[in-house]
Amino acid sequence: MITILGYTLIGIGIVFWLWGTWPMLGKRSVLFKLHSLSVADTLGSMSIIMGLLLKIPREWPLLLLALISLAIWNTVLGYVLAYCSTGGRYD
């Protein structure tokens, strides 16, 4: 049961990765791609790590740390990229 749940979470993560990375090939603005990358790289990766956590609960402290730092760093990187790519003025 736990194993199936783990594989399901990993599968959801892979689907998020594929869906969120696909728009990178298109010709949209950087900000639009950032929205879909936050689906892929933050939420999809969090789901994959949750799946791994269910597969090896023995290593929960390190995987939990990975989960937290992934969420924080990816979100902050999204903010920094959005901030830096839109020029320096309040317009």
């Binding site: 939420l43 390190l62 839109t86 309040y90």
Partner: protein, 129 residues
């Protein structure tokens, strides 16, 4: 008023990193957390504000997944920017967490922060009329 929440955060990271609850390790963790430089702010953050922001983070996780599924099923193709008010008397830590919560959900990203407002970029399904 020392930032005991700050201390708690450092200890949590330490114990997750080492995964060891022996007395020696607890002593090392506490002393490192106390020795690292801290910033003393004039107006300490209220515990009530912190609890509310932490609650917002817990709500934000399922909400983020919900929004992700929503924009997967129905394509959101239009983009625009809006201004959101900042609540008064926020400390830098609380502002950081506010920005974190807004940017974490896939539909919204904070672009700029000013004293009174966040500039938020969001995607939506159709053009705002």
């Amino acid at each position: 008023m020392i930032g005991y929440l700050d201390l708690l955060l450092r200890l949590t990271i330490w114990f997750l990193l080492t995964a060891d609850l022996s007395p020696a390790n607890i002593m090392i963790g506490v002393s490192v957390a106390l020795l690292l430089p801290r910033r003393f702010t004039r107006t300490p953050a209220l515990l009530k504000d912190w609890l509310r922001v932490l609650w917002n983070i817990i709500i934000a996780i399922p909400q983020a997944y919900f929004e992700a599924i929503e924009i997967m099923l129905r394509p959101h193709t239009e983009e625009d920017t809006t201004l959101e008010q900042v609540q008064p008397n926020r400390t830098p830590g609380l502002i950081f967490l506010d920005i974190f919560v807004i940017t974490f959900t896939p539909k919204t990203i904070v672009l700029r922060y000013r004293d009174d407002a966040y500039k938020v970029h969001r995607i939506r399904r159709r053009k705002p009329s």
